[in-house]
């Protein structure tokens, strides 16, 4: 039944081909079938040599990355190209949204947030409990829908000698049930954490808003800039401009000192390129220790008090 190829659905924002598409293409390569890329028109930054076929849809990106429209697009692609073995999306806001809706529509298997693939068993690794354990999933029918974790497979991309065939999928009608209106940029703040050389970053584990002034005191004393994980912003302990991660800022300081942050991939993605990562957590199994250069198992608030005392006393 299936036509023996992998369909990769591109993620495009403001005319640019997002870098995390390399991970979906990379997983496509590991799956060992020809890779077709589906994308809207007028996209910059696509390296077509990474692909075996390119399928273009006459739609703008706001229409393209809409779950209702995506289903109609996929119906058309399956008709003209045959049914793929796998349909791959990025594990992002729109990628996961489209994949879920399409899998529900086609009654197709879906594994999200895939970060590994085991060739010998044909199983996909999916994170549970913020990376504390992983489940290996087997799909029982085809096409299998997958959303792919950013950073997981990009080293697998390979370049062809010749440019791929480019085909048009044709026009796609917008969906009545949901329409794109506009992009909205979150307001910037007074502090730019991306410029800091030394970030002192706090997570939910500090316990409460009442602890924040003492961390501010420590940051001042060490001449560090205070940043944080998402729950700290959600709880209004610190403003959004301080948030590190996929839905916040990407930072590359000389030193990133993470206090009571567990190490969910959405956080790691925003700080993994720091020169030196130091993690303090009371849980010796916290996933962040896998990414840190130095680790300390301790109660953060106690260690904070000692640090303030030492730094101020010296």
């Amino acid at each position: 039944m299936s036509a023996g190829y992998v369909l990769v659905v591109a993620e495009v924002r403001r005319g640019l081909f997002e870098e995390r598409n390399l991970d979906t293409i990379g997983l496509g390569r590991e799956l060992g079938l020809p890779v077709s890329l589906l994308l809207p028109e007028n996209v910059n930054g696509v390296d077509e040599l990474l692909l075996d076929r390119v399928l273009k849809v006459s739609a703008d990106e706001g229409t393209f990355l809409n779950p209702l429209v995506m289903v109609s697009i996929l119906v058309k692609v399956f008709e003209s190209q045959g049914q793929p073995d796998f349909v791959l999306f990025t594990h992002s806001s729109s990628g996961a949204e489209c994949a879920a809706y399409a899998a529900g529509h086609f009654s197709a298997p879906l594994v999200t947030d895939v970060s590994g693939f085991d060739q010998s068993t044909g199983t996909f690794f999916k994170s549970y409990y913020s990376d504390k354990v992983f489940a290996q999933f087997k799909s029982t029918s085809s096409p299998t829908f997958l959303t792919v974790r950013s950073g997981s497979f990009r080293e697998n991309v390979t370049r062809n000698q010749a440019a791929p065939a480019v085909e048009s999928v044709g026009d796609i009608a917008p969906a009545e049930g949901r329409t794109f209106l506009e992009y909205v940029e979150e307001a910037g703040g007074a502090v730019d954490i991306t410029k800091a050389e030394f970030l002192l970053s706090v997570g939910r584990g500090i316990g409460s808003k009442d602890e924040i002034p003492r961390y501010e005191e420590l940051a001042r004393a060490m001449r560090a800039v205070l940043s944080c994980s998402r729950p700290v912003v959600d709880k209004l302990w610190l403003p959004k401009e301080r948030q590190v991660g996929t839905s916040g800022k990407t930072v590359k300081p000389k030193v990133y000192l993470a206090m009571a942050i567990s190490g969910a991939f959405q956080h790691i993605a925003g700080m993994k390129d720091a020169d030196c990562i130091i993690a303090i957590n009371k849980d010796p199994e916290a996933p962040i220790f896998q990414y840190a250069h130095f680790g300390i198992v301790a109660d953060v608030n106690k260690l904070r008090d000692k640090l303030i005392e030492t730094v101020k006393g010296s």
């Binding site: 809706y101 529900g104 298997p109 087997k138 909205v184 009371k282 849980d283 130095f294 000692k306």
Partner: protein
């Protein structure tokens, strides 16, 4: 508006060592405390605020064993009118099975709704796809990662979806629809033990999942549970608080960020 919010009871694992049993057959969750999935707090709160403003009612639905009643009590304490438990002893790992079950239930019981809410994801399996699958099965629109509801009209909503890196998109979604609600959209109200106790007096209805089992099947299967692939890992700094403090400052000095 009538809003149905799906709420899940999840284990609290942040500070726990998780043990894999029987050579990868299962994860031992027996001794862990449980609570309402954090993202669902935001979903319930948003729904309650919408009906407080515009009228209607909120129904909290949980899929799970009898203990999942706990999250229904919490949702009622937050302002939900009804709590429905779709009771099953079986752990449905595939969200497709859960979405099919929910779809059958809503249809068979003719549960009225203008909107269905879920959290963006569950803390335990982080699948982030139950709502999208359910919307497609019900043939109604879907918007994920909603971080703001800008306007509520008779036949549609205007919502903001969170994308990556500080970008959002504003979209118009027809009613009825499914929304997945992102953390930070509101500040969920505080729920006291007294509040939950009062909520326990409100009757919650129990529906047996086996009555809605048509086509409830798994399309993906867990073959094995595994610990995360070990990377190089951190060099651990040990000692009492004075020693650790000294060594930490030493590293900061060496890296040139602290004098």
């Amino acid at each position: 508006m009538e809003i149905v919010v799906f709420t899940k009871r999840v284990p609290v694992t942040q500070e726990e060592e998780l043990r894999i049993l029987e050579d990868g057959k299962a994860v031992d969750l027996r001794k862990l405390p449980h609570r309402m999935n954090d993202w669902d707090n935001y979903g319930v709160e948003e729904a309650v605020r919408m009906v407080e403003k515009g009228g209607g009612g909120v129904t909290s639905v949980a899929i799970g064993d009898a203990e999942a009643d706990e999250v229904l009590r919490r949702a009622i304490a937050m302002g939900a009118r009804d709590g429905f438990l779709l009771e099953t002893e079986e752990v449905l790992h595939d969200p497709f099975a859960r979405a099919t079950l929910a779809c059958n239930f809503l249809k068979k019981e003719k549960i009225p709704f203008d909107a269905l809410f879920t959290g963006v994801q569950a803390e335990d399996d982080q699948f982030a796809c139950f709502g999208g699958m359910l919307a497609a099965m019900l043939k109604i629109p879907y918007a994920a990662q909603v971080i703001g509801v800008d306007s509520v009209e008779k036949d549609h909503l205007v919502v903001r979806r969170e994308l990556e890196g500080g970008l959002q998109e504003r979209v118009k979604v027809s009613l009825p629809c499914v929304l997945s609600v992102q953390s930070g959209i509101n500040e969920p109200r505080y729920v006291s033990i007294m509040g939950v106790r009062k909520a326990s007096k409100v009757e919650r209805k129990v529906f047996k999942a086996s009555n809605y089992a048509d086509n409830v099947k798994s399309l993906i299967e867990v073959t094995k549970w595994a610990y995360p692939p070990k990377k190089e890992g951190a060099a651990m700094i040990a000692g009492d608080v004075n020693e650790v403090c000294g060594k930490l400052l030493g590293i900061l000095k060496e890296k040139g960020v602290y004098q």
